[in-house]
Amino acid sequence: MTAPPEVTGSAASADPEATLHGMSGKAIQGRSLGQIAWLRLKRDKVAMGGAVVIVLLILFAVAGLLLDRVFGVVHPNEFHQDLIDTQNGTLVPLGTFGGMSPEHPLGVEPVNGRDIFSRIFAGAWISLLIATLSTVLSVLIGTTLGVIAGYFGGWVDTLISRAMDVFLAFPLLVFAMALVGVLPDSILGLPPEMVRIGMLIFIIGFFNWPYIGRIVRGQTLSLREREFVDAARSLGARGPYILVRELLPNLVAPILVYATLLIPTNILFESALSFLGVGINAPTATWGGMLSEASRFYTLPHFMLWPGVAIFITVLAFNLFGDGLRDALDPRAR
């Protein structure tokens, strides 16, 4: 990838041909890299659709956080065992479509009769929060170490690359389970739930950085030999300046794209941890937790459908947006 030639100047200094195409008298504005990308992105209907869904999801998640306090909806952890069939012992929701009713628009869970709609609602913010923050953590660590490894090379590169190998080979799930065992209830006076969320963000984020680190390192390796870096260097620029001002702007595109693609992966990873009992503590609703619980009741499709749909929409939206972003930032990669 190269930095596109800077488009500077104005219509006045442009060649006469340019004025033939331009609107009479109106000056042609110069566009920065970001503006061009934004224009391309805006034209990409699919990517914009993804972006809109993401914004809606964030609003949905924020609403879910305030759910029972503001909206007065059914509490997500409240049991409604009167709505399930205890008489015949089947423990499935009474009524059709998993007990759908005006009070419980998506039905209720088997066995305990908790309202699925409010649980999907309440689970949104946890899923998004963990996925986003752990992605931010991965990106921060991965970019920093990747750029350093790629730019400086030599023993620094060897050290960081081997560290990546170690992290990639780390038995993550075993580590997560062990960590749950030794972690105290509350750290620095934080409630247990916050400690658990923080731990998940740490585990998912801290152990995922080598993936992005490798991509950044590879990109840096090819970039540092480029003419514009040589030019900066010959003008007397030193390491940190070149890293931050010359290399990083050119790395923004792959980092952004990879980050948007990492978020859905992390949502699924949180589900896996919930399934193993090292995710968020029960009874707090998470989509992954709901899904893994539903897998025991494969004869009741509705129970699995809703958290599945929620994860599906989120993953798809982030993926579409990430794809569009990549096309916009680097059209030749299409």
Binding site: N77, E78, F79, Q81, I84, D85, T86, N88, G89, T90, L91, V92, P110, V111, N112, M177, G181, D185, P192, L276, G277, V278, N281, A282, P283, E293, R296, F297, Y298, T299, L300
Partner: protein, 590 residues
């Protein structure tokens, strides 16, 4: 395949079931409580194999297909501790005594198997003598002698070579000092523990008198093993059969096949019918898949005998035809929540009582699987099927069994926490029922102001590292702990000893009992064990039960039940109360 015939057969079956339910389904209530070893039935109805024999037949032939959702701990008779494995091992081994293969209450009775009669006690119950039947042979034609039985018991006490089996013989027989089994002390004289005066007599010497030694003799560890053929850990690859079947192939942890053992003589064996020509066993089959195959008829026995999975529950109970293929026996398992007096504020009895009152028992039962798959609401420790159990309820939970919140609040005020308090509840992360129960308790105790935080721990180390480890329990404020207990056999001692004796609690962890630390109960246990009068002893068990409940250190949940599916085409099906599942010895397939 003739699909038409299948359809009509199913339709006919459905019609029969509907006809039965129109009559009021009275036949379902005959199970369990009647003495019923004589009854039988050929119509597929709910509980048709409970308390009576379903589809009685003496026809030989066919192969029974058996599936296991997990793998065996070991098929070596000296190295196995699952009830289903003990039930199944009787097909290829013979121990001194066995549970009678009979429907209803009869199945809890012990009958002689390899021995001619039950044990003859002498020396006040410290010495037990058995005479072996004549003419019993191993599959290689070698006659079984009392030395082979003795060697079987000797090898089973080496827990390094054979780690899985129970330790009753190791703990109760009068072993010479420092004896560690025949692998480590090859030529040690063990006559102080087991004597074999001749080839058909075996004498056991105990450290202290014990009236229930015939139960020990039922354990597959008394199955004969030839010293010359023993390969230690590898013996499970080829167990030499004494029963009517022997291994033809045996792939460890994958599956095995049993075929007829031509050296077995029916004349030496009044208990076994040996109807099918063989058994095909596969292991590590997906549990939901086993349910489906049972329904379709590809598999006849789910060998673990713990009942159908959550997904199949609604299917079986919601469909009259399938329900007609199901049986719903009680097990002698108690699912409960331990209330740890070592964790504040549960050091105060009134705080513990508040939990007993506030718990919603109906929600507990539903969370544990409901009245069919979960069990009956428990108000005391001992399941009704255990001899001596008496029903009582010290903490009435209101007319609808949903808990008495007002009374709970009263108790909270009494213990100085009128506004409630916070504590943690531990459960096994891979057990959805324990998780649902913990969530249910969080809801119901929350009504009284007791706030629970849920703590999931891996089940593998649940007792050694977490919920059964006293320092961990104290450090992590585990006020409540989900737990379950079932005796090795149906008897007050077997049920209560590990559950309420405070002396089994080790600071290093590993005990099932986590919360019962009442010195008086320990003394009552010792007194009951030495009581020789059976009815007095059974009264003692109930008194212990009551004393523990008075201290409110256990919140009883449900007395377990399981929903079993009868395999298609099986004959002679009945539930053995001793094992709480189908009797695998008597099934036929023709």
């Amino acid at each position: 395949m003739n699909s038409k015939r299948v359809v009509t057969a199913v339709a006919a079956g459905a019609a029969v079931v509907m006809g039965l339910s129109a009559c009021g389904g009275g036949s379902t209530s005959t199970g369990g409580s009647t003495n019923g070893s004589g009854g039988s039935s050929t119509t597929a109805a709910f509980n048709a194999a409970l308390g009576q024999v379903f589809n009685p037949s003496d026809k030989k032939g066919g192969v029974i297909k058996v599936a296991n959702a997990d793998k065996w701990d070991s098929v070596d008779p000296g190295d196995t501790y699952y009830a289903y494995s003990w039930n199944f091992a009787r097909l290829y081994t013979r121990s001194l005594t066995m549970f009678k293969p009979a429907a209803g209450k009869g199945s809890a009775e012990l009958v002689p198997d390899l021995a001619e009669s039950l044990g003859v006690p002498s020396d006040g119950g410290k010495t037990w003598t058995y005479k072996l039947r004549k003419g019993v042979k191993f599959e290689d034609g070698t006659p079984v002698t009392s030395k082979d039985v003795k060697y079987g018991v000797l090898r089973s006490i080496d827990k390094e070579v054979l780690p899985n089996g129970p330790s009753y013989f190791k703990n109760t027989l009068a072993w010479p000092d420092g004896y560690q089994g025949p692998y480590k002390n090859k030529d040690a004289n063990t006559d102080s523990a087991i004597e074999t005066p001749d080839d058909s007599t075996i004498v056991f010497h105990l450290k202290a008198s014990f009236g229930g030694f015939d139960y020990f003799a039922m354990i597959p560890q008394t199955a004969p093993v030839q010293e010359a053929k023993d390969t230690g850990k590898k013996y499970k690859e080829h167990v030499l059969a004494t029963g009517p079947y022997k291994f033809s192939t045996n792939e460890i942890d994958k599956g095995f096949k049993l075929v007829r053992n031509d050296q077995w003589d029916a004349a030496t064996d009044p208990n076994r019918k040996a109807l099918p020509d063989g058994y095909e066993v596969s292991m590590n089959v997906n549990a939901d898949d086993i349910d489906n195959r049972l329904i379709q008829g590809d598999v006849q026995v789910d060998v673990q005998g713990t009942g159908v999975q959550a997904a199949s529950l609604s299917r079986v109970l919601g469909d009259p035809t399938l329900k007609g293929q199901a049986d719903n026996p009680s097990t002698t398992r108690l699912w409960y929540t331990g209330i740890n007096p070592t964790v504040a504020p549960f050091d105060n009895k009134a705080c513990r009582e508040a939990v007993e009152y506030a718990a919603d028992r109906t929600a507990y039962q539903t969370a544990f699987g409901g009245p069919f798959s979960g069990g009956d609401i428990a108000t005391q420790l001992m399941p009704p099927a255990v001899p001596g159990a008496q029903k009582f309820d010290l903490y009435p939970a209101g007319p609808d069994n949903k808990g008495d919140v007002a009374k709970a609040k009263e108790k909270l005020a009494e213990c100085g926490h009128a506004d409630g308090f916070e504590t943690n509840i531990g459960y096994r992360s891979d057990r959805p029922r324990e998780k649902a129960t913990a969530e249910a308790l969080q809801q119901s105790l929350g009504r009284a102001g007791i706030k629970l935080t849920l703590k999931a721990y891996p089940s593998g180390d649940y007792f050694s590292q977490f919920a059964g480890n006293p320092p961990f329990v104290r450090a992590n404020n585990l006020g409540l702990v989900q737990n379950g207990w079932m005796a090795d056999w149906n008897d007050g001692y077997g049920f209560l000893a590990e559950l309420v004796d405070s002396r089994v609690i080790r600071e290093t962890g590993g005990s099932t009992n986590t919360s019962v630390r009442i010195p008086e109960v320990d003394q009552m246990l010792d007194k009951a064990v030495s009581e020789t009068d059976k009815s007095k002893r059974e009264g003692d068990w109930s008194a212990i039960d009551k004393r523990v409940m008075e201290e409110a250190v256990i919140l009883p949940g449900v007395h377990g039940k399981s929903l079993l599916l009868r395999g298609k085409g099986l004959t002679n099906v009945f539930v053995s109360e001793a094992y709480g599942m189908y009797d695998y010895l008597s099934l036929g397939m023709a």
